[in-house]
């Protein structure tokens, strides 16, 4: 029996979750473009502080902005070249963010120490965590939470389950799938470094059953190592942190709590690569695997430098095949819709998806018929229909009573709703209002 959780859906099952476009495409290195736009805020927490000036020459891997606090990481230059400007540019989140714009000199001249190998087994956990922060490693599954913070739980929270998330349940995305296949050793080594940091004896890698090739590859590579491979049922949102932990360990992250409360830490597969690069090769996080897919001429899995503009990515992939209805950073279930090609690939960009009219529908919603489908599919055990009726009326107190704050925004309810109601959308708004209110109350 494959491990799984309660609820969930099979999105875009009719087109094999859209993954067929890229799941057989080997990783391809995209050459760095002429100009890179590197935002100083690519992670949850305080933005980094620029430490270079306009006109400075920078080297590949050189730190160009330092961490703005403990919950923050530095930013590094992905190429060698000249700092053209430091100014606000369009960001994936829809706002403008201060960015360091670098003219590439195409020499890829590396900063000193870049690529120097290091034996992690001689280092203490504290030193390893410092190396990980210094190299700008954040969670690369999309949330971009600084990894060193995740790896520094308070001493009373003993971690005994360390899980690498290879579920990749989002339709269309295959970045982690390819990483598991082609960067197997890096991922395993990243996991082993983290096991050492947290003092965990056995690591776990969870992979959805639709990536059989990855499962057998990883299994083979882990032979004799203290690492267990867990096969997960193909179901969305299997890669949701809480769902993944529950499927594998049968432990539930308490409502309002964190994985560390039940002794678990989850790392994205790509994050493991970044940890490995940082610790064993002293290479900062300046490139990542991005699935570029949907209505593009050449759907691909690319290794892209952080700071590459979307326009350059599409140029490389041959452009679009038809009118772009939606441009999405991430997958179709939880990704962020974009309106500009000037946004850039950042540390959390696992995919760029182009949807045409056929899939990117925004149908008019009609009355809820109380069919209860949203309730059956909700992985958080919520009642979306009631939360929605309170949220759209502005009754956030009642929405909160129906546990809207426990919504993980996976979108499963909206996906199945026969009345096409904008359920998840209303919960995001309600959560924002409730968070604002809580903050205001705390400030008093």
């Amino acid at each position: 029996m494959k491990l799984s959780f309660r609820g969930g859906i099979h999105p875009l099952n009719n087109i094999h979750h859209g993954k067929y476009l890229t799941d057989k495409k080997a990783l391809e290195v995209m050459p760095a473009p002429e100009k890179l736009v590197i935002p100083i805020s690519q992670h949850i927490g305080a933005p980094a502080k620029p430490i270079v000036k306009i006109g400075d020459r920078v080297l590949m891997g050189q730190k160009i902005a330092e961490a703005g606090g403990f919950v923050s990481v530095p930013i590094h230059s992905s190429v060698s070249g000249e700092v053209l400007d430091i100014s606000p540019t369009p960001h994936l989140l829809g706002n403008e963010v201060q960015s360091i714009i670098i003219q590439n000199d195409f020499k890829d001249e590396k900063v000193s120490g870049y690529g120097e190998t290091r034996d992690y087994s001689k280092l203490e956990a504290k030193e390893l965590i410092a190396i990980i922060q210094e190299n700008g490693v954040v969670g690369m599954g999309g949330a971009t939470f600084p990894t060193h913070v995740k790896l520094s739980p308070p001493p009373e929270k003993k971690i005994d389950k360390l899980i690498v998330n290879g579920a990749e349940c989002e339709p269309f995305l295959t970045a982690d799938h390819r990483a598991l296949l082609e960067n197997t050793e890096e991922i395993i080594n990243g996991l082993r470094i983290t096991m050492r940091i947290l003092g965990v004896e056995r690591g776990i890698i969870g992979i959805e059953n639709n990536k059989r090739d990855a499962i057998s590859k990883v299994k083979k590579a882990c032979k004799g190592l203290p690492i267990d491979i867990k096969t997960l049922k193909v179901k969305y949102p299997q890669g949701g942190e809480k769902q993944l932990i529950q499927a594998i360990t049968k432990r539930e992250v308490p409502s309002g709590g964190l994985p560390m409360d039940i002794g678990a830490v989850v790392l994205n597969a790509s994050t493991c690569i970044a940890i490995y690069n940082a610790v064993e090769k002293n290479i900062p996080l300046i490139e990542r695997i991005v699935t570029v897919t949907g209505n593009v001429k050449k759907p691909s899995n690319l290794v892209v430098r952080v700071g590459t503009r979307f326009e350059d990515v599409f140029e490389f992939c041959g452009g679009f095949t038809e009118h772009v209805e939606k441009l999405i950073a991430g997958g179709p279930m939880m990704g962020l819709a974009q309106f500009s090609l000037d946004v850039t690939v950042i540390k959390g960009t696992s995919g760029i998806l182009v949807l045409g009219k056929e899939l990117a529908t925004t149908p008019a919603q009609i009355n809820c018929i109380r069919c209860g489908k949203c309730v059956y599919v909700c992985p958080a055990g919520l009642m979306p229909l009631h939360m929605n009726s309170y949220s759209i009326r502005g009754d956030y107190e009642m929405a909160e009573k129906y546990n809207v704050m426990d919504c993980i925004e996976c979108g499963a309810c909206s996906y199945v709703c026969p009345s096409n109601r904008y359920l998840t959308q209303s919960f995001k708004f309600a959560k924002l209002q409730i968070t604002k209110k809580r903050r205001a109350e705390n400030a008093q």
Partner: protein, 324 residues
């Protein structure tokens, strides 16, 4: 860049399934086709006329009401047509055609649109209309016609015969029709309720299509079965279970009426309670009440408890224990 002009920007999710309300409603109508055909076979083509009148009236009345109320006309969602079909299933095969027209009008205007339309009705519109018709024209609604292979009869009102439905016979202590006749629908009753086999086939279709879950029908039927086994008319008589389950409107009510989304609980535990409640009331009405039947009123009364049941039963929250 080519093809990149006006793009849509919304929050996620960006894709949707092909589910729609009209598909759900159409599925229920498909499920009712076997029972309708059996009804038409045994009671004659006039039954089909009744069902069609119900459906057309419901659709027309909904469109006109929405036009008058300046609402968007939504008859395309097929819910009005389904309400009409369900009402037709609940009428005897002898009523004059103005009865279905008035019934459908009541179901749509009074029970559905006044309370806000689709999904907002607090009771089953078809059953609400049936109750209204029974109260207003009891003689017409209690007139049965003999099943005489009437399919080949002309499209005319069949002669109402002084027959009785199986449950009425059971009550009067008279000879019962055979179980086989009750299973295939060769008995007296409303157009849709007669054939147990056809109703169950449709029910299985709805379960497979995931339109309904087992909770309400199974709990409802099981409750009636257990109580009729215990209480009567002869205690601990397995035959009375057969009569009560097959002989009246129980299967039609449990599979198609009590499962109406708008007027049933959402959570599965709530559905179990709702089903048991419907079963209890049905058994009490049938065994101790004034009428041989009891399904319609049992469901209507349980409909009224749904807001309370919904408040009491919620699914288990993931990670229910609050963090310290």
């Amino acid at each position: 860049m080519e093809y990149f002009e006006k793009v849509k920007v919304t929050t996620s999710p960006h894709v949707r399934s092909k589910e729609s309300v009209s598909k759900v409603m159409t599925d229920v109508m498909i499920a009712l086709i076997p029972a309708t055909l059996v009804g038409v076979y045994f009671f004659g083509l006039y039954s089909l006329l009744i069902v069609l009148t119900c459906m057309v009236s419901a659709v027309v009345v909904e469109a006109v009401t929405q036009k008058l109320l300046k609402r968007k006309i939504t008859v395309g969602d097929m819910s009005a047509a389904l309400t009409g079909m369900l009402l037709g299933m609940n009428l005897p095969p002898t009523v004059p055609l103005w009865i279905p027209a008035i019934g459908a009008g009541f179901a749509i205007v009074i029970v559905k649109q006044i309370f806000g339309g689709l999904g907002q009705n607090f009771m089953n519109p078809a059953l609400g209309a049936r109750a209204f018709l029974v109260a207003s024209w009891p003689a017409l609604l209690m007139a049965w016609s003999g099943p005489k292979g009437g399919f080949f009869a002309s499209i005319a009102v069949p002669d109402a015969v002084s027959g009785a439905t199986p449950l009425a016979l059971l009550r009067a202590g008279e000879t019962m029709p055979s179980f086989w006749d009750m299973a295939i629908g060769n008995t007296m009753g409303t157009i849709g309720e007669a054939s147990a086999i056809a109703l169950v086939i449709g029910g299985i279709y709805l379960l497979l299509r995931k339109v309904i879950t087992w909770h309400i029908p199974v709990m409802y039927i099981a409750t009636v079965a257990v109580l009729s086994f215990l209480l009567g008319p002869n205690s601990f008589d397995i035959a009375s279970v057969g009569y009560h389950v097959l002989g009246g409107g129980l299967l039609l009510g449990a599979i198609y009426m009590a499962t109406d989304y708008s007027s049933a609980p959402v959570d599965n535990k709530g559905k179990i309670l709702f089903g048991v409640g419907c079963g209890l009331l049905t058994a009490v009405f049938r065994l101790f009440g004034a009428s041989a039947e009891g399904v319609s009123y049992a469901i209507l009364i349980m409909n009224l408890t749904v807001p309370l049941i919904d408040r009491a039963f919620k699914p288990r929250l993931f990670g229910e224990v609050k963090a310290k």
